[in-house]
Symmetry: C2
Subunit: 280 residues, 2 copies
């Protein structure tokens, strides 16, 4: 089900700047029992993205009411996904934005992906992608609609035995997965990439950092390399839909699902229920 | 007028990957007397872009017939613009492309912009943009739909007395205008940016390089800086719609419209009529 500016529709204006230039943002939100999980955090990130792209601050109440509307079609006591796209709307002259921006909002409900339980439990297999993430501080961290790098990276493999690809930037720093952020543990310290030049600052990434800080587990955001991750004690991917997927193998190198990954999964499971529908 | 997959329509599928991820390409083509100018070159660049983004090679005959169809609504002996968008279509799972790609093509006719004659004749005024172009060889040169950098750069000024903004990359190299390529002349040699890490390889840029080569005027593609361009003898912008716009001022520094810019404008005017509708 799709709501385009509040109205059930499966089409958008071909002149929409989201289509013409990728001029917009999106959020991918887990739905559990018809309620949006970590909704407040998603709306907060959307607002941050709007500020950075000079988009008008969205009407949160309106977005929440439309999310709730599509959620009435989601399964009771089951999972689903809501995708929220916000663009600069139609108009303007070429790249120049219109004087009065009338954003387009698209809210859609999708089935939850059929990920096996083994992914969070026994871990997943990953590879390194050849496609690099470009360097651009103006766009770094934002979950915007310019996603060709991820599309090209994801097109590199079709083997269903590989669940995620790891992307490096142009400086050989490991940044993230094609659809996730990456954390690793070394000597009981948790590390993740600094997202000042590229990458998406995931809502789940932020929640994990918050949970660790609350629980006195230090998280260091820094620049690191392939060699650092390959010598890690534990590695995991995170996003709002997968939660936490430990890594059990990268291109033949085995990793164990370690105690810190398990601990964070437990913290997350507890906080998830506290985070259901908080902004509703 | 819009043709979406050959059918008159003002909407596209909201699930189209062009809208979801900016997963596609575009061309902006001058129409003169209902015929596409430099059409062969545009179709050639489109094919190169498709190959680089792993999109199926488009059916050129079909595209040409649809361009001709919208051109019947263009003015006789007048100018117009055709925009051609080609995306990876709908489908796939997240960033992963569908197994069978059914591209979406959107062909639309627009009025020619009301640029004053003074722009090509007396030159334009330009500024340097703060927004930088990211570095990414995988996407460099391609006229793809991920255009947030250009949107942000163009949003930096609203003064109608400034016609174009000059964009640098993260390494302080001058790359291009927000909607054009840049050439400059120094000691009778023509220079333009190397587009190996960022930028769009414009059809008009390629035509100008070809015309200069035919006429034994050397064109050097290299990395250059603000200081190089500010000490140039002549500077001009180019794209398929503006043709050549000499620069008469950048942030207070005056430039004269020089003999080499004038010469290339003449070569271009002659070749333009030869290039009308060549692939039709």
């Amino acid at each position: 089900m799709y709501l385009v500016n509040g109205i059930a529709s499966t089409t958008i204006d071909v002149a929409d700047r989201g289509f013409q230039y990728g001029d917009g943002l999106f959020e991918t939100i887990e739905i559990f029992n018809r309620q949006a999980v970590f909704l407040e955090q998603h709306l907060q990130r959307l607002q941050t993205g709007c500020a950075r792209l000079y988009l008008p601050t969205p009407d949160t109440k309106l977005l929440v009411s439309e999310i709730n509307k599509v959620c009435t079609f989601a399964p009771v006591m089951g999972q689903a996904v809501v995708k929220l796209i916000l663009t600069r709307g139609a108009g303007g002259r070429g790249y120049r934005q219109p004087d009065i921006i009338e954003p387009t909002r698209v809210i859609s409900l999708h089935p939850f992906p059929d990920y096996p339980d083994s992914y969070p439990q026994q871990g997943v297999i990953a590879r390194f992608c050849h496609t690099r993430l470009g360097l651009n501080p103006a766009l770094a961290g934002i979950k915007h609609l310019n996603r060709l790098e991820q599309v090209l990276a994801r097109a590199e493999w079709s083997d269903p035995g590989i669940q995620e690809g790891i992307m490096l930037d142009m400086n050989d720093h490991v940044i993230e997965g094609t659809m996730s952020n990456i954390f690793y543990v070394k000597n009981n310290v948790l590390y993740t990439a600094q997202l000042t030049q590229s990458g998406v600052a995931g809502v789940m990434r932020q929640i994990i950092i918050g949970l660790c800080t609350q629980n006195k587990l230090a998280v260091i955001e820094h620049h690191y390399t392939k060699a650092d991750i390959l010598s890690a004690d534990e590695i995991f991917f995170s996003n709002s839909i997968m939660g936490i997927w430990p890594v059990r193998q990268i291109e033949g190198s085995p990793f164990s699902v370690g105690p810190i990954s398990r601990q964070i999964q437990q913290w997350l499971a507890r906080s998830k229920f506290a985070g259901v529908g908080v902004a509703a």
